[in-house]
Symmetry: C2
Subunit: 346 residues, 2 copies
DNA sequence: CATCCTCGGGAGAGCGCTCTATCCGGTTCA
DNA sequence: TGAACCGGATAGAGCGCTCTCCCGAGGATG
């Protein structure tokens, strides 16, 4: 970067028109004479002009940037922060979120800036970041039901869209899945296969999605005469799935069906079952949740309840863009339906 | 956001001082009378002032934002773009990169914006994004050796730091691993265990890291009398590892050692071996590469060559910050040493 | 032929901040 | 006592862009 970058002024002089006209050409607004348009374009490429985003933002009050925030509850220590980031990013679920979001933002020339807000301070940073106009809005994925961030955002009147309904009502749009129906689908499938001694590994019960999946599952089991379904709580990771299954297996060695609240845990469950000499699905049927990439790579491939994460994330981005653009003003919710995907594990 | 956001002017009026003084307090520069400092601070919290980042950027020419770019080579179709993003983000490797980068950026109050540049157009977008001052610099992770992005960035004189040495020399800083030494470590370990019929699954050979790991491995094997090591090329994914091992096993059923160029493939390899009735490590020893999270969750846990990705990513961020700040002007390279981590698979 | 539009273009006022030049009042020192 | 100095604050000039207003030249209209 040797000399000063060319400005609108330079291009205008080069093309022999006014700043305003160049601006009009660049932004494609109003009718500009095609001949002048062309000469401006040439002047632009001759000077190698690139509009200064800061100057533009200063007057438009738009940055074409949104914050993609993964927020937890409570406080974690300084060094845990990075571990949190690593864990979140590595989760196949997050990959699908990013994929869906980017797919929507790209055609709108918008960009996501990644933020992790697992401490109160970090959450305050997110609010400040938005308040100072560094981003136009936020897409929030909470890892806990009682995440305080949505309320902070709503309180500051900042545009935001949530993944999953917040535990306490907040005046923000969100997308969610009918988790309860997902639990029902899993139960019906296991029952349909003739499973009679079914157990379940739930997600963390402070996450409402976990509660709902479990509730839907248990309700359906109950309605078919299975009043009690043994439960172990997991943490949505492979490890926690293994631990939970080990525990359940000790108490219920005759188990013939398992519902796991996500695929990662289902994978761990399959691993434990195999190590204990149980064949999946012959001896024990396993149903996962999410239909993430591991559902396919898992041995055996998982029968699972599909959550259309990419579509949900895309919807989030779309909603946020509409809120930012002022097209949509009222908080809106979009609930997606789960779908059973039958593979080999059940 | 009901009324207009308060500006410096408002705070100044409220505190009974000039704009400049408030600015100094906000930015903590120069000597300001402690009493005035305090009254300004109070005025700030009373008005709920948050500095406008666009206005600030306009004059400082800094955004405190960096682009975190994952760039491929060649062109992929429109719909493959999202798949690319999903695949990249989900890779545990990327999670570690993000973790390391965020760890460095956070204390500097900088933020990463995520960009995927797997088409020529997308790469051009990255350059434009930086040229218009939307970000102060770029951290580039290339998925292919002949990625054209580094040259574009260097050509435009934009601050950037690369993960891995570019195939053609470019005037940019980079961090890298001594991959060749990593291959050597793997070979020595397998030989030390007494393996005599060793095969290897490499990464894509258009990635220089793959070539180097393979070269280091083969050289060492050759030096110990093993002139020929059967090879199958994989794609750094579990699936490709499985396919490669299936192939190798068909031609070399008596194999007793495998070196995989990353952990994901090693995991696939272990799976195939188990399915074929081979015990790991008893019948076949498997050495992976990376020491990623799957090395621990894999059954059996993987003996692997550790790549300190977090540290490397942190170094990238640090280098970039120095380049942006003008503290460092010459392109610099930092090469990290791999380390063997012995677990159960070999 | 006067009037009213429409269309293409220019002038210029900011957007909210930083930063240099400047000023002011009080001390120090020749 | 006056010049030099210095910490501490202000005034004001931009940074590069958008956007509203305005103007002038045609063309349509009555």
């Amino acid at each position: 970067m040797s000399r000063q970058a060319p400005t609108l002024e330079d291009v205008a002089r080069e093309a022999g028109v006014s700043r305003a006209t160049v601006s009009r050409v660049v932004n494609g607004v109003r009718n500009v004479d095609p001949a002048i348009q062309e000469s401006v374009r040439q002047a632009i490429s001759r000077t190698g002009y690139a509009p200064n985003q800061a100057a533009r933002s200063l007057v438009t009050r738009r940055t074409e940037t949104v914050a993609l925030v993964v927020s937890g509850a409570g406080d974690v220590s300084e060094e845990e922060q990075n571990a949190f980031a690593a864990r979140v990013v590595t989760d196949p679920f997050f990959g699908r979120v990013v994929s869906g979001v980017v797919g929507q933002l790209r055609p709108r020339s918008m960009h996501p800036v990644l933020m992790f807000a697992e401490t109160d301070e970090a959450r305050q940073d997110v609010v400040t970041y938005l308040r100072q106009g560094s981003a136009d809005g936020a897409l929030v994925v909470s890892t806990h039901a009682d995440d305080p961030l949505p309320a902070l955002l709503a309180g500051a009147g900042l545009p935001a869209v949530l993944f999953a309904r917040p535990s306490r009502p907040v005046a923000l749009s969100y997308v969610d899945l009918a988790h309860r129906d997902g639990g029902r689908l899993a139960a019906e499938h296991l029952l349909g296969r003739g499973c009679r001694r079914v157990v379940t590994v739930s997600g963390p019960l402070d996450v409402s999605a976990s509660q709902e999946r479990l509730a839907g599952f248990r309700d359906t089991m109950a309605r078919h005469g299975h009043a009690y379904v043994p439960l172990a709580q997991g943490g949505f990771t492979v490890d926690s799935g293994m631990a939970a299954m080990t525990e359940l297996l000790a108490e219920h060695p005759d188990v013939d069906g398992v519902f796991a609240a996500n695929d990662l845990m289902a994978q761990g469950i399959c691993q434990v079952l195999r190590e204990r000499g149980r064949r999946v699905p012959h001896d024990v049927a396993v149903v996962g949740f999410d239909d993430s990439s591991v559902a396919v790579t898992c041995r055996p491939p998982l029968t699972t309840v599909r959550q259309p994460v990419e579509d949900m994330a895309a919807a989030m981005a779309r909603l946020l863009a509409e809120h930012i653009g002022g097209v949509r003003t009222e908080p809106t919710s979009i609930i997606f339906d789960p779908e059973l995907v039958v593979r080999e594990s059940a």
